[in-house]
């Protein structure tokens, strides 16, 4: 009898365990929009909160760099968990489209967008423009006795050796945009030759494209390469001793885009988000981050770097979307793991 009781005791404990496990699995949330975003956390929440307020739809979101979003979509190909990819350069979304990870949606609010700013079939829709710039720590420039770099060649100055940081082009959309721009500017082989020299100047690589701005601000590195809006928002406007320059020999740019994930759980909500994000009110919110919106009716904040203000390299996004895997492989072999 005593033995039986004890066995029962074990069973009770086991049942309890099972109960807790089942309970845990059963905690199901109400239907909401699941989102992956490549925007900075602090920025993404501006739009998401406004969207939630405007539509009453709740958004559950995860922030990742755009290379990581792409990897995640590939991993979840057979069972997508999110419905929308919000933010990050169009090139990465084109790469996703080519891998069959996206489904088309032509937003009625996108009709006025120039065809350069959206996919012909609706696989991705642009909502802002950004250009690449250099962030420099003014105090250290002074100590080193150099001017802020204004061309790609300036980055190779001996003063900057071991003092530059940038992101990995495979994790970061920013950094892939830089690589693509260099190739468009110089030609592929020449761009890789240049990058080999640049690699010797680089102190370390980051995962996220805008991370270098604060590193420059803190003085960990002297120069960072990132999007101008991130340099202004996270460096200059915060009060760091950061100066923004844009390479005069030509700079790369992005169309920040959003897209619907193929087979995602709530496509209608994703469509609603895209529609909303293209409205003038939503686009005007981008003034908080010094981004340049694509909706002509939206406000543009003073200090934002417009594409017409700088010397932009024409980029074939479709080509660079298609070539991403190959170019990344080449970059890894020749630059990251090269001698």
């Amino acid at each position: 009898m005593g033995k039986f009781k004890e066995v029962l005791g074990v069973k009770k404990a086991t049942l309890l365990l099972l109960g807790v496990l089942i309970l845990a699995t059963l905690v199901i949330s109400a239907p909401v929009l699941h989102m992956y975003t490549a925007l900075d956390v602090n920025e993404a929440k501006i739009y998401i909160e406004a969207f939630e307020k405007a539509t009453g739809i709740k958004v559950d979101w995860v922030r990742m760099s755009s290379g990581e979003v792409l990897a995640r979509l590939e991993a979840e190909r057979n069972n997508p968990r999110a419905s929308i990819w919000f933010g990050g350069p169009a090139v990465d979304q084109i790469a996703a489209k080519n891998k069959g990870l996206l489904e088309p949606y032509k937003s009625p609010n996108a009709w006025s967008l120039d065809l350069a700013f959206k996919d012909y079939d609706g696989y991705w829709t642009g909502f802002y423009l950004g250009v690449i710039g250099f962030a420099s720590n003014t105090k250290q420039l002074e100590e080193l006795g150099v001017e802020a770099p204004t061309s790609w060649q300036d980055l190779l100055k001996p003063e900057f050796k071991g003092r530059i940081s940038v992101a990995y082009p495979y994790t970061s959309g920013t950094s892939y945009t830089i690589l693509a721009g260099l190739i468009a500017l110089m030609g592929e082989d020449e761009a890789f030759d240049y990058y080999k020299k640049l690699n010797k100047q680089i102190h370390h690589y980051n995962k996220s494209g805008s991370a270098c701005v604060t590193q420059v601000g803190l003085g960990e590195v002297t120069v960072g390469i990132a999007f101008a809006h991130d340099v202004i928002k996270k460096g200059v406007s915060k009060g760091y001793p950061v100066k923004l320059t844009v390479p005069e020999d030509g700079t790369s740019y992005e169309i920040g885009a959003m897209s619907v994930i193929k087979g995602g759980p709530e496509p209608e909500l994703a469509h609603k988000f895209i529609d909303w994000m293209l409205t003038a009110e939503a686009q005007s919110l981008m003034k908080n981050w010094y981004r340049v919106p694509l909706n002509p009716d939206a406000e543009v904040v003073e200090g934002a770097v417009k594409i017409t203000d700088v010397n932009v390299i024409p980029l074939d996004f479709v080509y660079f979307g298609q070539q991403k895997d190959r170019l990344i492989e080449r970059w890894k072999t020749e630059i990251q793991y090269g001698d």
Binding site: T14, T25, V41, R72, N79, T171, S208, L218, G219
Partner: protein, 555 residues
Amino acid sequence: MYFTKQLKRIFNEPTLFITLLAVWLLLGVFVIYPIVMVAITSLKDYSGHFSWNTYKMLFTKVYFRRPLINSLKLGATVASIGTVVGFIFAFAITRVNIPGKKIFTTVATFPIVSPPFVIALAAILLFGRNGVITHDILKDSLKIDIYGFGGLSLVETLAYFPTAFLSLEGILRSINPALEEASLSMGYSKWRTFWKVTFPLSMPGIFSAWLLVFAQSMADFGNPMIISGNYQVLSVAAYLEITGSFNLSTGSGLAILLLVPTIVAFTLQKYWLSKKSYVTVTGKPSSMGILEPKKSVKALFTVILLIFTATILMFYGTVFYGSFTKLWGVNHTLSLENYKFVFDVGLEYIKDTIILAAIATPISGILGMLIAYLVARKEFPGRRFTEATSLLTFAIPGTVVGIGYLLSFNNKPFVLTGTAAIIILIFIFRNLPVGVQNGVAALEQIDKSIEEASLDMGASSATTFWKVTLPLITPAFFSGLFFTFVKSMTAISAVIFVVSGSWNLVTVAILGSVENSDLAQAAAYSYVLIFIVIIMMFLLRMLTYRFSYERKIAR
């Protein structure tokens, strides 16, 4: 025949048999299966066909060898220094009568209760190019580069020596001082008693502590991500391959390369340990404080403890201060803005994290003790394999566990991604080794005869486990619980692959802030996390005391 005899014994005890089956099923699905998936993936090329390419590359290209050598060098360095420091701490706390023990213990556990990358960040703030110490105090007179091997070793030693400390503390506490007393009364000096009695008795603990730290250092990716500079380690290489490029095959290959040294070390330990017997608790009550060293030695202990404690306090103090500054490095006006941010934006993360960790902790703890008991006390076919399997998740970098879960539980029949369950399961099985190892180490100290007495008097295996074994290993059990909770609260590398919008974690939010160098936010998040964990720690310490064997005897 031996084998049939073993089988017969199992069938004679249906409870044992059912428990074993359940344990095997759980380990099979949640430990082996994901890893097998990773292994299979590492043998596939892009189009999904079988290929040795990944492994060929691992051996033909220097860039795969370099991270391996780097990781091994780092792991061995950190494990060695960490174990020595951990032992000094544990010995001082359990054997030496010094003031401020509670403070030392509490401070030493800071690195465990906080996400590891906080230490890396503090290191940058203090020793970076523009750091408080290097730039403001030393005026750049020393060319210190915190990014790289040296910085990583420092950061990881600080982050992981407490692991060695905590596990050794448990071991030292369970060594019966009667043995030391006997040695002393037979004329041995305290020094000799230490070397001939205490030290050999704690040897299995020391070795397992070394392994714990080694494995942690090998699998760590938070610190190397931030501070490794160009010192490429395996975990980061694998992580970047997988998250950045979705090169699952290369990433998995690198991870399997990471696995090999850990498994070798593990096997060595088992082989070496099995030759010695370490039974000291033989049913007698234990007390403490026999090997009181000379004043000069005591002073030395105090100084070492003070140095490490001061360093940790300095690191955490810097981050604490940073969490109140408006803009670290530029505007040091104090404000509560960052905390306001954490409670505005991060409250949901905090809630989710606590719920998930709280569900996983007891399950992991009980399962761990159960496996430890089965492994240390029961004879059954596949015993060694069962133990090895339960310890496996520890040897595998979190990133790969995460990817393994993603690969395994994203398709039928197990669709779990996006749910709370997958995060809970990762917490449970990632932390299982701590419980198992603690349990086994504790059980190895307890003479089998106590349980045999219970069995001889007619109690079943189950009764014996609940009434005899469990109370004896309660301290180990609770320290396992504590660990699981803390590790769940601060986990990042595995869960980052499976977090969803519905279930998000504080660490993911911290990593986001850290990635963007929003240090003050990250600091505030970390302190909220640390605060929660400290509360848990005190709760568990109280519980440990309540349920511990010593107290029962005292009553």
